[in-house]
Amino acid sequence: MSTDTSDAVSATGSPNAKMTARDVSVFYGDKQAINSVSIDVDRDNVTAFIGPSGCGKSTFLRTLNRMNDTIPSARVEGEIKLDGEDIYASAMDVVQLRARVGMVFQKPNPFPKSIYDNVAYGPKIHGLADNKGEMDTIVERSLKRAGLWEEVKDRLTDSGTALSGGQQQRLCIARAIAVDPEVILMDEPCSALDPIATAKIEELIHELRGRYAIVIVTHNMQQAARVSQRTAFFHLGTLVEYGLTTDIFTNPRETRTKDYITGRYG
């Protein structure tokens, strides 16, 4: 449940914003997928993006760490800032940005390497550990934070792909945590998991809240209600409504939001 007590949130202008997006539009070739979205991502809370399939949730999420750069046809307009720094400025190093704004994907995608190497990969390429001892510490800490340590501590050399789906997804979260990001983006992290594994991930999101700013895309509204304190509802590439999760689910301002959360379409 939401534990936030502040009175209201506006889409923009929060003093506690970790990331701010202003008038962001995204195009795939000629096709516009996101139309002038402005939103603040809160530093201490979990923000959920909900909306029907194809409305642009993933597209918008991927603009926040410039993963769209890898799609040749994608073009981003508008301004996105991380702690006041324009992430699309030429001075911004995209490699560093993605370490600061980590990502967990829809389908668990561990590297076909050992569990240890999966977690150690990020710290290794960013030079975060000077020796094996430091790396061991980082790996252990990351796996503990991801709630996976107890299950894998005796088989760190096993392949990451040999784990169950839920464990794989937590391994991916540990891998993202290992580079000590400031923001973690999760794109439907539970859609490929069974209910028990989903519950574990949701619990984990609760524990990570506060340490990292978290944005989670989900099409499961109960999940949004359970894990987030802020919810943004997207429809057809526009941001329809953004506010406290409790408000969105109990007292939506827009009829489109109301229709969606009561299951009229989706």
Binding site: N65, M67, T70, P72, V95, Q96, L97, R98, A99, G102, M103, V104, F105, K107, N109, P110, F111, P112, K113, Y121, G122, I125, H126, S159, T161, C172, R175, A176, A178, V179
Partner: protein
């Protein structure tokens, strides 16, 4: 909204009778077609295995004799033999000249006639005298007395001794057997010597070494260039008309008849750049041109089959493009790239047509010492020997084929080994 009652929309179907005769017949038919398909598949596998086994057995049967050589013991009494040499002369400064001037061929003929009667000089290999000379040069003191030399037999005697000769030769062999002077032993000269006009002395090492050097040049060029090209095309090149044109060109290049590569190499490497004719260097360059497109095509397919989610994962923790490629994509694509490489290399190993044009079909007696020496390759040696009239070359040809197949199998085994080492599952 549809207001019709639900019962009107669905006509109640008659329940399916799973036991009806028609249903049973359908099931039987399905099983029959399953069995038929299995049988056809099995037949295809067995037929191709049988072909391969037949080929190998025939080659082995024909070629195994090429690895052994019939020898005849020849006693020479140097006190009476017309050679005109003595140990002191050989050890003196003009020893070389004396050896070069002496008539060893005549000596062998003389000794053969002395020992086994008129006509026996034809029983010995035309190159047998070289062995006599070599032994005298090494140990001149044998000139002071009598010595027995184990000399290679002429090819008709050799063939007769292996059970396939003419009547005259058979009689000679029988005669020699009665005297107990004929023997058959492993022909190490075949594996260590170069080509010769006399089948008893001809060896495969020259061609084998030529092939190995040529393949080394081919691999050293085609593999890195092919891998880098496929990585660039898949991971970096923008998708536009130019990359389409390049893709079509590479596909066509892989299908160009190999002799055309030979013409190209002749014009460019030899006539324009003046590289040495017949050399493994030019041969390797030519075959690299042929092999590279095969590696590029296999490499691109292997790279395409690396799941995009792995790239996302690496990019997501802040890996650069180059790190994504070299830490993740390349290792995962490597087994597929190696498979393509081995197919290309196997084709290059068996290639003759383009090498004909750059002069690698010459008669080459000395194994090449380096990349720019004149050389020939295994399939070319097979072709040259199969063209010889001397009957002794028939089994040499088969023996050379065996050597070629062994090299091929070794290459494939190495590739399988590396592929398994790099193979990762996800």
């Amino acid at each position: 909204m549809n207001n019709e009652p639900a019962s009107d929309r669905f006509v109640d179907p008659t329940p399916t009778d799973w036991n009806s005769a028609e249903m049973q017949a359908r099931i039987r038919k399905r099983y029959a077609s399953e069995r038929r398909f299995k049988f056809l598949g099995l037949t295809a596998v067995v037929a191709s295995a049988a072909f391969l086994a037949f080929l190998l057995l025939v080659m082995l049967g024909n070629g195994i004799g090429g690895f052994s050589q019939t020898r005849i013991a020849l006693p020479i009494d140097f006190e009476t033999a017309p050679i005109g040499l003595d140990p002191d002369l050989i050890r003196s400064g003009s020893g070389e000249a004396a050896l070069a001037g002496a008539d060893f061929r005549g000596l062998v003929d003389y000794a053969a006639t002395e020992a086994y009667g008129p006509g026996a000089d034809a029983w010995f290999s035309g190159g047998a005298w070289e062995i006599v000379r070599a032994r005298i040069a090494a140990d001149p003191d044998i000139l002071l007395g009598k010595a027995t030399f184990d000399l290679p037999a002429a090819s008709d005697i050799d063939v007769a001794n292996k059970g396939d000769g003419g009547a005259v030769s058979e009689r000679a062999v029988a005669d020699l057997e009665r005297r107990g002077v004929i023997s058959k032993s492993f022909n190490s000269a075949f594996l260590t010597g170069g080509d010769a006009t006399d089948p008893a002395l001809a060896g495969i090492w020259g061609a084998l070494k030529g092939s190995l050097l040529t393949m080394a040049v081919t691999l050293a060029l085609a593999f890195p260039i092919g891998v880098l090209a496929s990585l660039y095309l898949e991971e970096y090149a923008p998708q536009n008309r130019w990359t389409d044109i390049i893709e079509v060109s590479i596909n066509n290049l892989a299908a160009v008849p190999s002799i055309i590569f030979g013409l190209l190499a002749l014009a460019v490497f030899i006539n324009f750049f003046g590289m040495p004719t017949s050399s493994p260097l030019v041969g390797g360059l030519t075959l690299a041109l042929m092999t590279m497109p095969v590696i590029v095509i296999a490499g691109r397919n292997a790279i395409k089959s690396v799941p995009p989610s792995i790239r996302d994962a690496a990019l997501g923790v802040g890996a650069s493009r180059v790190q994504v490629v070299f830490h993740h994509v390349l290792p995962l694509a490597l087994p597929g790239i190696l498979t393509g490489t081995i197919i290309g290399m196997a084709r290059a190993l068996g290639e003759t047509a383009p090498l004909l044009l750059i002069g690698m079909r010459a008669f080459i007696a000395d194994p090449p010492a380096g990349l720019s020496d004149a050389a020939t390759v295994l399939p070319m040696q097979i072709f040259l020997w199969s063209d010889e009239v001397d009957k002794g070359f028939v089994e040499k040809t088969s023996a050379a084929i065996i050597v070629l197949l062994v090299v091929l199998l070794t290459m494939n085994a190495l590739a399988v080994y590396f592929r398994n080492r790099f193979e990762k599952r996800w």
